[in-house]
């Protein structure tokens, strides 16, 4: 018996916490709406709803879980109804419910949906259960179609808009993949930079590229004629020298 009481207390405590969380979240939402409606960032404002729904699912989880059944067996009995202001109640509810009156109690202590709502729910359930599988599939397909169509429109709009913003800066496309590749291969492997051998890989075999003589070119003695920097006039020398330097082949 005592154990059950304790459990009940713990459950109530948990529920109370959840409800309080929910309350503060709602308060925050309302105060935001009232005070910052001019500067509000709507996407972040929408996040508040996400928080609310998070709290709600948390609460319903507790209520559904196995800890709760004891609650079902607990009866709340309105002992006293009256029109006089009940200070204790007002304080408990932060001034929202000043008295336990007749018009409030049915709403506050309701355990089932309202009869009208219940009826409508039943209607819908019935409609859903009578629907054939095929029609359901058809409707789902239709729905997906509509959604994908909307998605297309939006993404196309975005593309247009981005293109527009680029064009408004006064340009057509600003880079070209082909140029990127040309430049990177040129710098990386020398493609297009070797005079006389247009597209030779880095390990190209054959006559060494004849670099034009450059600024402070080192003085090439006869011994250095093997070096590829020699002017083309002594090409024969290169061959001869290549035999001396087998690694140059």
């Amino acid at each position: 018996m005592q154990r059950e009481e304790k459990q009940l207390e713990a459950t109530l405590h948990a529920i109370l916490n959840r409800v309080n969380d929910l309350k503060t979240a709602i308060q925050a939402l309302i105060s935001k709406l009232e005070n910052e409606y001019e500067t509000i960032n709507w996407p972040t404002f929408l996040d508040n709803y996400a928080i609310l729904s998070g709290h709600l699912t948390g609460l319903s989880k507790i209520l559904q879980s196995e800890v709760a059944p004891s609650l079902r067996s607990v009866v709340v009995l309105p002992l006293q109804l009256g029109c006089e202001r009940d200070e204790a109640l007002a304080r408990l509810t932060e001034g929202r419910v000043p008295a336990c009156t007749h018009d409030l109690v049915p709403d506050l202590l309701r355990t089932k949906p309202e009869p009208q709502a219940e009826q409508r729910l039943q209607q819908f359930n019935h409609k859903a259960s009578t629907l054939s599988h095929d029609t359901a599939q058809k409707q789902v397909a239709q729905f997906t179609k509509v959604i994908s169509h909307v998605w297309e429109i939006i993404s196309k709009g975005r593309e247009d808009w981005e293109g527009e913003s680029m064009r408004s800066a006064g340009m057509q496309p600003t880079h070209s993949i082909a140029d990127t590749h040309a430049l990177v291969t040129a710098v990386g492997t020398g493609k297009g930079l070797r005079p006389g051998m247009p597209s030779m890989g880095p390990s190209g075999v054959g006559a060494p590229g004849l670099g034009p003589s450059r600024g402070p070119a080192p003085q090439l003695g006869p011994a250095a004629a093997a070096m590829p920097k020699a002017p083309s006039a002594i090409k024969t020398n290169i061959k001869a020298a290549n035999q001396i330097h087998p690694y140059q082949r």
Partner: protein, 221 residues
């Protein structure tokens, strides 16, 4: 005897210490892209807004790069590539000798190309030295453009020119500027790659900076 009179440690020792402490920046993180000539001004404008070294106007450079290769004597490994860069606009600056290893693109999750790299400042008769060392000139080109810095990142926007045989004015390779975003860092600092990605995104859609494997591109064509 004071501490100053202690024997100096040998250069080899200090180098191996530095290696152990992993403070030698021998990895290059790289992203590449290009921008059409017509849009380069816009890009420069944007970079001026983003980068650090813009107080005294943009930094320009005009370099000549010669790429050497050194064959493996055992004919097993791929030839070693060495690059020499010299500033044409500041002739008294030392040469820059670079060793660049094979680029590693990694999988999709890696934000940048990573390749091992040694950047060595050199003076003296470097070209002749490399020639005598057994290196062979593979190709050469000149690059002229702008250099920006943002934190540790270096951004170059440059035009690549073919070196012309005669005294003709150098001929540009394409109608675009090469854009490179790179960081030199010690091994294992992969976090910088994310920063580079973030920075590259700031330049979109003007420039698309990407991991590009020039090796594969070279074979494709």
């Amino acid at each position: 005897m004071s501490a100053a009179n202690l024997a100096p440690i040998t250069a080899t020792d200090s180098l191996s210490q530095a290696l152990k402490a992993n403070i030698i920046p021998n990895q290059e993180y790289l992203l590449q892209g290009s921008v059409l000539d017509s849009a380069v001004e816009v890009l420069l404008h944007r970079l001026r807004g983003l980068c650090d070294n813009v107080d005294a106007g943009t930094e320009t450079f005009d370099d000549q790069e010669v790429c050497f290769s050194l064959r493996d004597p055992n004919q097993q490994a791929a030839p070693l590539m060495l690059r020499v860069r010299k500033a044409l606009d500041a002739r008294d600056m030392p040469f820059q000798l670079r060793y660049i290893g094979q680029p590693d693109l990694g999988d999709k999750s890696r934000p940048t190309v990573v390749r091992s790299s040694l950047d060595i400042a050199c003076s003296g008769m470097l070209i002749e030295f490399l020639n005598e060392l057994g290196c062979r000139i593979e190709f050469e080109y000149s690059v002229k453009g702008y250099m920006f810095r943002k934190g540790r990142m270096k951004i170059t926007v440059s035009k690549v020119f073919k070196i012309s045989q005669s005294s003709m004015s150098p001929e540009p390779i394409s109608q675009s500027y090469l854009v490179e975003l790179s960081v030199l860092a010690p091994q294992g600092q992969d976090a910088i790659g994310e920063d580079m990605r973030a920075f590259a995104d700031q330049l979109r859609p003007l420039v698309q900076l990407d991991k590009i494997d020039y090796k594969r591109l070279g074979h494709m064509s």
